[in-house]
Amino acid sequence: MPLLKVIDLKKVYTTRFGGHPVQALANVSFTVEQGEFVAVMGESGAGKTTLLNIIAGFDKPTSGDVLLNGKSIVSIDEKEMSAFRRDNLGFVFQDFNLLDTFSIKDNILLPLVLAGQSYREMNERLMPIAKKLRITDILEKFPYEVSGGQKQRTAIARALITKPKLVLADEPTGALDSHASSDLLRLFNQINAEGQTILMVTHSVRNACHAQRVLFIKDGEVFHQLYKASLSNEEMYQKISDTLTLIATGGVRNE
């Protein structure tokens, strides 16, 4: 059984004053296996973020279903959703989404506190993760005192601390410089090698070529997918670029 199964997802936004309905997702289906690192690519407006929001349970689809470990996310109601999200999903956002009133440590512990864990348990989980993400010495600092890369590593630590089944990343390097970006992606690869399933939305080719598989979305549909298999990052980069060029020039599906 795949870890994540997206079935015939469709999302139509209707504007309030009877304007034209906008179709964000037309018909999206794909699966993600346990332990995979999948990137979703597409141009702005292709429906990447809508897709991620639906998988995360922030938004409901017009039709279709999303199964995580065989359980439908779509049918969970708002009250259970937050607990479900807390226990099963980890998030890494483009703009970090750290709380400026909490120290780095408290930001990481937030999901555990919300889940009602004991402080001893929290500390036991925190230390190995902080070490892996190299943020042990900034734990007592506050978000405004640390660099962008450190902030994003904090966000990853927060996403991982609940031992989620799936980590969702939305343009995780969008606010980072190139050095911090490649550092972060290496971290993703490392985490993934340890068995963590990751689904990342991005429009950066450099990011996507770190993934094992890249899905391309165009006009609300899965247009194409590429497997990295044994390709090097450079070869993968080339293949992705080619595909993007094809999409941009409006070419037909490349079989």
Binding site: M81, R86, F93, N97, D100, A115
Partner: protein, 652 residues
């Protein structure tokens, strides 16, 4: 200019309350000035006192308006810095931004002065009716618009707006566009816990409470009260700013307590919130305390006016005179009885006695007189001596005393032992009396006070000679003749006039007081105070409401992003709501709770102060305080509900 108008409309949510405040302040100030010069008030018997009070109140409003309008304005400017930054980036020079600001302020000034003066003039008739109703004075018809009040008001508020313009322009000029754009989104430093300030705050509040609780003498209470008030304000301010953060940090150090869902977010949130809002909360607390104290005292004085009159005038009509010889006393008696008969009224509860009074310094059972001593101390004691004859007549008893014996009635204070020494002259206490004829309290009791009965006038003189051997200006005793009459006001007033004349003929040092004749001036004084109490209470409540409203909005904008993140990380909507509620509630009701604690501690010293003002009915004051707190709390909760709704709509 067009841009300025658009800006004002766009910022309606924050701007309308500001405009309303300006209008409100103008209306209030105009009305106070109006009442201070209104012609109708000239018809009052005690108009000058009232006018002075009203003018003073206008002054308070003026000072308050300056502080308060500045406060709200600076809040608005802070909110809008981003907008100015945008103008700047879009190619507008600071000069132009400043020009927009000036226009905005001019429009605000014009709108609020226009509406405020118009509203003030329309309301002025209502105000004067209300005032006259409160001070129980006949209402006259007519309408006036005193030019001086209009001019004063216009001048004051033009001045305030001018200062605001200067301040705003200065703010814009000083700022850099990048800062303007980023203002509000800059990561804020975590506030440091300042233990020293917290300790100072706790110490000064503690000493304020100590003073309030330990002050016994009402005369000493007055200056000490102000010391206590200032200490309490300092203490409140420091405790809110430094103490709260220190406390929260202490809670955060306790790991098992802190890392629980219901404490985790509120504590960390409050640490930041306190930094921004502590001063505002301290202000709210101080204002609330002031409002409640002002309203409760003025209301209880107004409501307790009859009590007050009775305390001040134990009998409806009282004739007193000093240095009255036996001969004169007989003549006075006769003259008074003659006038009573002429007025054809039936006197009741007549009290007649002659006495000797001393202001002494008490040390245990010893009394001395020292003219150069400080008479504000707690050892000051009033001693009144009367003869057994007068006592027997007054109480209908037949007590006989030996030359060195005395009966003691303690009004306030305590004399240990069985012997009293008046600078060496000793009297043994034969009996301690539990009642005293004139009244349980002969007049407003502001210090220790004792009444003694001795056998005859010779003993009185012995006491006098012993206490004040070199005092040669008295050749007689004090004279007191008081009685109640039941008759309408005119009869009583005319009787007082007749008595005054008759008594003066006998003894030029005589005074005749009538409760009825004093009633008018009592009403105009306490009624005026009551009126102003309500008026200023309203003003302060308005200020409190506005501070709270702005606080909620500011917090709402700050918290919106925060709660969005929390929802993404796995907090349900209900949990978010719960957290918001507990956080807002504690911030909101902290000042009110603190204010109530202040009042509880101040209660004793205020009752002492009210005694100076002849109000001895503690229960009445307690009731008024409770009622005021209740009404205030209801008002507060309403404001909370209203603003909390605005807050929710911003956050979600």
């Amino acid at each position: 200019m067009k841009l300025a108008v658009n800006n004002l409309i766009k910022n309606a949510k924050t701007y309308i309350p500001y405009l309303l405040t300006c209008i409100g302040a103008i209306i209030m100030f105009y009305n106070m000035r109006f009442l201070a010069v209104a012609k109708d008030i000239g018809a009052l018997s005690d108009s000058e006192t009232l006018r002075t009070i009203l003018a003073l109140a206008a002054g308070v409003i003026a000072v308050f308006s300056v502080i308060f309008l500045f406060y709200t304005n600076s809040f608005l400017i802070k909110r809008r810095k981003k907008e100015f930054g945008l103008f700047n980036v879009l190619g507008m020079e600071k000069k132009h931004v400043a020009r927009i600001m000036v226009w905005e302020t001019i429009i605000t000034a014009a709108l609020s002065l226009g509406a405020g003066l118009l509203g003030g003039i329309l309301l002025s008739k209502l105000m004067i009716l209300l005032l006259f109703r409160i001070i129980a004075f006949e209402v006259t018809f007519g309408f006036e618009i005193p030019v001086s009040a209009v001019v004063y008001t216009a001048a004051l508020f033009c001045g305030i707006f001018l200062m605001i313009i200067v301040y705003d322009v200065f703010q814009v000029m000083r700022s850099k566009p990048i800062e303007l754009l980023q203002a509000g989104s800059v990561g804020e430093k975590e506030p440091k816990a300042n233990w020293l300030l917290a300790a100072i705050g706790a110490a000064s509040l503690g000493s304020a409470y100590y003073i309030a609780l330990t002050t016994e003498s009402p005369l000493a209470a007055l200056p000490l009260f102000f010391v206590a008030v200032i200490l309490a304000i300092i203490g409140t301010y420091f405790l809110f700013t430094a103490g709260s953060i220190a406390l929260l940090k202490m809670l955060r150090k306790n790991k098992t307590y802190y890392y629980q869902a219901k404490h985790f977010i509120p504590i960390s949130g409050m640490i930041y919130r306190m930094k921004q809002h502590a001063a505002g909360l301290a202000n709210i607390c101080t204002l609330s305390t002031a409002v409640i104290i002002m309203l409760s005292t003025t209301i209880s004085m107004y409501v307790g006016m009859e009590d007050l009159l009775r305390t001040r005038y134990p009998r409806n009509i009282v004739v007193t005179a000093s240095s009255v010889s036996d001969e004169e006393a007989r003549k006075l008696d006769a003259a008074i009885e003659k006038e009573i008969e002429a007025a054809n009224i039936d006197p009741k509860n007549t009290i007649r006695y002659r006495s000797m009074s001393f202001v002494t310094l008490q040390d245990g059972a010893g009394f001395t007189v020292n003219r150069s001593a400080n008479y504000l101390g707690s050892n000051v004691a009033f001693v009144t001596l009367i003869t057994a004859d007068d006592y027997n007549r007054m109480e209908g008893k037949s007590v006989s005393l030996a030359g060195d014996e005395a009966l003691l009635y303690t009004v306030q204070g305590d004399i240990p032992g069985d012997t009293i020494s008046f600078n060496g002259f000793r009297l043994s206490i034969k009996e301690r009396l539990s009642t005293w004829g004139t009244d349980s309290k002969m007049s407003s009791i502001v210090a220790k006070s004792y009444c003694l009965v001795v056998d005859n006038t010779d003993t009185l003189w012995q006491v006098s000679n012993s206490l004040e051997p070199d005092r040669g200006d008295i050749d007689g005793l004090s004279y007191y003749y008081g009685f109640d009459v039941h008759g309408d006001k005119d009869v009583q007033v005319s009787l007082v006039g007749a008595l005054r004349q008759a008594a003066k003929e006998v003894n030029p040092n005589s005074y005749v007081e009538g409760a009825e004749s004093a009633r008018d001036s009592f009403f105009s004084l306490y009624g005026g105070l009551f009126f102003i109490g309500i008026f200023l209470g309203l003003l302060f409540i308005m200020a409190t409401v506005l501070i709270i409203y702005y606080k909620q909005i500011a917090e709402g904008y700050d918290d919106r992003a925060r709660f969005e993140i929390m929802q993404k990380v796995g907090m349900s909507r209900d949990e978010v709501k719960q957290t918001i509620k507990s956080q807002v509630l504690s911030v909101f009701f902290l000042p009110l709770v603190m204010a109530i604690i202040h009042i509880a501690f101040a209660f004793k010293v205020i009752t002492k102060l009210l005694e100076v003002l002849n109000l001895t009915n503690v229960r009445l004051y307690a009731g008024c305080t409770a009622a005021t707190i209740l009404v205030f709390a209801v008002f507060y909760v309403m404001v909370y509900a209203l603003t909390a709704r605005t807050y929710y709509s911003i956050v979600s």
